[in-house]
Symmetry: C2
Subunit: 408 residues, 2 copies
């Protein structure tokens, strides 16, 4: 079995040429760029006999089942949408890798005992309505049409109507949920979105767990006063307190193997150079693959911020605004993947995912696993995102061998 490297390279080039913007790639779900790519990929799968269904939110399932088996399908795939001015790879990598795997199975007339299904999840990035993984949440019944209608209506009725005009009905007639009845397992290939593989010079990551996350909002309330005429001792400076919090919060993950803590968003009022900041709001993003650590660090973060607020004589409000639990990949799938990597001399390591993926939504319903290819410099969601093509080929090869191992 041999991957067709030129064919795969052409797929990437054609698709990015259809979605290139002045800076990077912009391909939002339901956009005309998205529609073109949907058609491009499904056309190729139709040509080799796959049965295509599209559900009411736009999830595509393309079932390759040449022997008309009644067994459960192995799902492979990812998403194709990007953030605005995103990179060339991201979710498209796993989607095109899965397309190539099915084409190779077809060309080699591989006899399969389970159908192989390419899944393309809609609206993973959340670029339209600010809510991520809409497709995979919908297909696993984590959200329903009412939730969606509410979300879309609240935020942008015009965009919602526009999407409906594009043929996405948001009505459940065509829906084809993933509930384990017809699905054996799911394997997703994706770019790492971190710099570990690149730093280590390895081609492949075999994911063990997807980090859980707490997002904590901190609102610090001080008193706005003139920066010149208010002595230091009389100040209640919300931004000064926040600065101390941001600095000291980063120390809380010292000694943990994989825990990370980030403050990436801050807003200050009145935000004037010569006025002491009355109010500062920021988010703390805490992640780890050990749920207990997330809980412990979150508790310490809260205590630390409250203590710093008290010392600075400012008021504080602490609110948990987002949370997701740690997700563990299926151990036997992980072992099969690593065996195949080693047998085929593909450099690899076991690792964790700091980012959440569609795959995590299916986990717990069916066994799931993930394969990572490197992100050069760890850069992601950026026009400067990049992956060596040889590493992408290594990923496709590993996915191919793994799929063949499971279904044949």
């Amino acid at each position: 079995m041999k991957i067709n490297e030129n064919r795969l390279a052409n797929d990437f080039n054609y698709i990015t040429s259809q979605s290139s913007t002045e800076l990077g790639c912009t391909r939002l779900s339901y956009s005309s760029e998205d529609l073109k790519v949907r058609e491009y990929i499904t056309e190729k799968l139709k040509n080799i006999g796959a049965e295509i269904t599209v559900d009411s939110v736009g999830n595509i399932r393309a079932k390759y089942n040449p022997a008309n088996l009644n067994t459960k399908s192995l799902l492979i795939g990812s998403h194709i949408d990007t953030v605005p001015n995103g990179g060339k790879y991201d979710g498209l990598t796993g989607t095109l890798a899965s397309l190539e795997v099915i084409r190779v199975l077809y060309e080699n007339h591989v006899e399969i005992k389970h159908p192989v299904e390419l899944v393309i999840f809609a609206e993973e990035e959340g670029s339209n309505f600010g809510s991520t993984m809409i497709g995979s949440k919908y297909i696993t019944k984590k959200i329903n049409l009412d939730d969606l209608k509410k979300l879309y209506t609240d935020l942008d009725q015009i965009a919602f109507e526009y999407i409906r005009e594009r043929g996405f009905t948001f009505a459940p007639e065509k829906d084809n949920y993933v509930d384990g009845t017809d699905e054996l397992a799911m394997i997703e290939l994706h770019v790492e979105q971190g710099g570990i593989l690149d730093k280590k010079g390895l081609s492949l990551g075999i994911v063990q767990a997807i980090a859980g996350m707490n997002t904590i909002q901190i609102k610090v309330k001080g008193v706005s006063n003139h920066a010149g005429s208010t002595p230091m001792k009389y100040r209640k400076d919300s931004l000064l307190a926040a600065g101390e919090m941001i600095y000291k919060l980063s120390k809380l993950v010292e000694g943990y193997e994989s825990a990370v803590i980030t403050v990436g968003k801050i807003s200050v009022s009145p935000n004037a150079s010569n006025v002491i900041a009355a109010e500062t709001i920021f988010n703390i993003d805490i992640r780890d693959v050990v749920q207990e650590n997330i809980d412990k660090i979150s508790e310490k973060a809260k205590e630390l911020c409250i203590e710093i607020a008290a010392n600075n004589e400012v008021e504080i409000e602490v609110k948990l605004v987002g949370s997701s639990k740690v997700v563990h990949m299926d151990e036997s799938l992980v072992n099969i993947i690593q065996d195949q990597a080693n047998k085929n001399n593909l450099s690899n390591m076991r690792m964790n995912s700091g980012a959440v993926h569609d795959n995590a939504m299916l986990n717990g319903i069916i066994p799931t696993a993930m394969i990572f290819v490197p992100s050069i410099g760890g850069i992601s969601h950026s026009p400067y995102e990049d992956t060596k093509f040889t590493d992408i080929l290594a990923g496709v090869e590993l996915l191919l061998h793994t799929v063949a191992k499971i279904v044949s």
Copy 2:
């Protein structure tokens, strides 16, 4: 000589009733509210024989000179414009105090050896075009019409034309500069805009010096990456470095008597909860009444930020974006004011001004001095700005006795 308390209270009430917004007072220079107040005040001065001139940028000079003297004038006054949703007092306090002083001199037929001139400086707050103290800078030739035209044209041609339609010609025919030829000295009464007098329970502050200032812009450049999938040790987090800077910068003024350091303005990019901040820009505002300290602290601030940037492996740009020198009040004027305060049992202290005032622009050309009345809780540039009326009366009384002492 007796101040007319009701008359003064009525002045404040009428003027704020003309400029009240849902929250606080909004009276921008050249607005219809401003025009009403200009007319209200100049009408009262015309009625007692003062000679009114308005220069091309809107500075008002009202010369009370009943004996037609040829001697130099003592200038008293302040500004009448507010920030949007500002307070009731601010510069209006000194303007109405000065009006009342001239009315009392008139009513008491005080024989004066120097004319007394009420000056109302235009556009002190800079609310129209973002540049402060336009009137006092113009009247002292620190800026000229070309500078103004450039500023106004660059920023808001429509607003500039609107102001011209209001009769402010921005042409020098009527200009009457303060150059010391006709001016003896300037005394400005203003609210403190800080909390020292309020904390100490004193009615009056006699200003010794106006703090100088350096504003330093810090631009920290890191690398934007995924907050979940980037291990702490691989990060170049601009906001984390900025947090440490903000926290540690505040320590640099410890041990100094009057130096203050403030970070009140910050902007972060991309400013997303789950993305490591690529770029963080903030301003450091450093002030003191000792010029040497400002220079020393600024140097240390720069070194500290560069050191923290290096430790965090982020790039840094440091730029001085604003600077003003320490201004010392005239010692003999300060002594006269304090003598008068003590003789009249008005509770007072010598103090410094952290905020810059129009008065500072005249300093160095003619002797200047300032009298402060308390800002309750130190609150300023806010709808919640407040001063006890008894303290305002104390201020007017001190200004009256001081003026009488100097001119009679």
